[in-house]
Amino acid sequence: MTPQGFDRDDLRVIADMVPEGARVLDLGCGTGELLAWLRDNRRVTGYGLEIDPDKITACIARGVNVIERDIDVDLSDFETGSFDFVIMTETLQAVRHPDRVLEQMLRIAPQGIVTFPNFGYWRCRMYLATRGRMPVAAHLPHSWYDTPNIHLCTFADFEALCAERDVEITRRHVVDAHYRPSRLIEALPNLFGTIAIYGLRREHS
């Protein structure tokens, strides 16, 4: 079955990357949409971590296992290798220590999936270059002072971090704000891509 019926299109792509029966930890799981779909269609088991009370209640109401947990503080008690996949969608840019979270992800599971918005997108660059102000756009709607996105980066930044930490990028799916790929994006992803979905793996383990 093709994943469909998601409010967020990125979840459709991610759902396709997770194999049948996998054990999944979802960091910043929101209302549990992805885990519920994976449970119902891929026999996936797992847990989501979330800090928003209303989203936690939503997870519980749809029968998704959710643990109230700040992923910046508290990932150390998940055992090494205890999951098949750790997934983190649209959350990397909002954590205090993205590098540590990345390390934890690939300690807890051999494989990870990460999605985040691209600060190197040409409109962001133009905005900053022409107005001299921090960009505000559809995919980055907050002002600098109240944004939860405290660690914005470009695709190139993220890939440099992966290289530095021996993290292998197994897959990179770059799309526009409507989660559509295009030839332009394929040619110059760091300039024209809005959101990327990365498949990750530890290079040696």
């Binding site: 009370p53 936690i56 109401a61 643990i67 947990r69």
Partner: protein, 426 residues
């Protein structure tokens, strides 16, 4: 009882007594030749007995969890915030069973009951009772009521411990566990507070080595102190500050004469009313059961191994200002459940009321509980809950019970007759 009765109240309820005439061997090796369990039922058991929920009480609790016994009752049962038609433990959908544990002092066999061997009250000779014993006696009650498998076993504090023990000792007989403001075992600090409470009772001359009933005395002062110390630990610093601050109840602060702060008179009131309604030997017994509880102990002190036996799904709830059963204890439980591969959700409710929060109508708490139980009820009503074997078992056990399971509105039906009818069926 408010008039008119709120639509989400179970209304007037009547306790029932189940009598068990087979000897009940306790973990300590001693046996009770017969015992009685007083309980209340709210809601209706469905045809395949799949909608039953067990509510386990905490240290000073009892069977009267919801509704009123008489029209002139001032207060409803201790968990009326959560149990009723349309409340999180929804009596329109669930059949809720609440009991007074063995060793209690509200009607079930305990230290104030007559020891058949001596013809006098058990008093201090009542055997040591553990959480495992309670769970086993609750399992007997379930059989008596025709309940093969609980849709959920729910409890706060010591009640949560019973729910956890259920999942380990009877994995096939509980589908969901809700452990609220609980812990997989007590901390040293917790045991310390219990010991202070016990010493308060033991050192009261009127305690008379536990034989106060025979002596015609009552260790009121000891019980009062025990309750006062307990009560402080059930509140948070902020909670007490908010409620009382440094308000003076009487006396003159300027002259420093006969000053009594509000918080003092409040504590004394709490201690006084408790000491009138609770049995000192039961208090000792229940705090001991709390201290001894440690399901990991039989599994090389490994909680994960213990919980691997469980087959239930878990909801773990904690409260941010609870320092008696702190959030960290619930995290410990959730962590072990994850490692054991059990389905679990853990929510930490931000609330200023400390440990007592689990008794109070805190919006997020009620919403979370309602979300979890609502889904269970949906599953039951869709019929996707039980395999054929479970249904057959339920049917079989009911057909063997004279009078069948007590259904109907339950709460409003005459109750004692049921227990009387079943005495011989044990």
């Amino acid at each position: 009882m408010p008039d008119p009765l709120p639509p989400d109240s179970v209304g007037i309820v009547e306790p029932a007594t189940a009598v068990f005439t087979e000897p009940f061997v306790l973990a300590c090796g001693e046996a009770l030749p017969r015992h009685e369990i007083v309980h209340e039922i709210y809601g209706t058991l469905n045809a395949d007995a799949s909608n039953a929920v067990l509510v386990c009480h905490a240290l000073s609790g009892h069977h009267h969890a919801a509704g009123y016994h008489r029209a002139d009752d001032r207060k409803p049962g201790w968990w009326d915030a959560c149990i009723g038609p349309g409340k999180p433990i929804d009596t329109r959908r669930f059949c809720v069973v609440s009991l007074n544990n063995l060793g209690g002092c509200h009607g079930s066999t305990g230290p104030t009951s007559i020891n058949p061997a001596t013809g006098r009250a058990w008093g201090p000779d009542f055997p040591v009772v553990t959480v495992r014993d309670w769970v086993r006696s609750q399992a007997l009650l379930a059989e008596r009521l025709g309940i093969r498998r609980w849709a959920a076993v729910i409890g706060g504090s010591l009640g949560g411990m019973q729910a956890i023990q259920w999942s380990i000792d009877f994995p096939d007989r509980v589908r969901n566990v809700v452990a609220i403001a609980s812990a997989p075992r007590l901390s040293a600090q917790n045991i310390a507070f219990n010991e202070i409470a016990r010493q308060a009772i033991l050192s009261d001359p009127d305690f008379a080595e536990g034989r106060y009933l025979e002596q015609g005395t009552a260790p009121v002062a000891g019980l009062r102190l025990a309750r006062m110390v307990g009560h402080v630990t059930y509140q948070s610093d902020d909670g007490l500050r908010e409620k009382f601050g440094r308000e003076v109840a009487s006396g003159d602060l300027d002259l420093g004469r006969d000053v009594q702060f509000q918080v003092e008179s409040y504590l004394q009131y709490q201690g006084r009313s408790f000491s009138r309604s609770f049995d000192a030997n039961t208090y000792l017994l229940m705090t001991r059961a709390l201290d001894y509880f440690d399901p990991a102990r039989e599994f090389d002190d490994d909680l994960v191994t213990a919980l691997r036996h469980a087959r239930a799904s878990f909801l773990v709830l904690s409260f941010s200002t609870d320092w008696r059963f702190a959030t960290e204890r619930s995290k410990e439980l959730a962590r072990a459940l994850i490692r054991a591969g059990r389905p679990v959700s853990h929510a930490d409710i931000d609330a200023p009321q400390g440990h007592d929060a689990f008794l109070l109508p805190i919006p997020r708490y009620l919403q979370t509980l309602a979300a979890y139980l609502g889904r269970i009820a949906d599953d039951i009503e869709r019929g996707s809950h039980a395999d054929a074997a479970t249904r057959e078992d339920a049917a079989r056990s009911r057909s063997q019970t004279p009078g069948g399971a007590r259904t109907g509105t339950g709460s409003r039906a005459p109750a004692d007759s049921v227990a009387a009818k079943r005495t011989g069926a044990a």
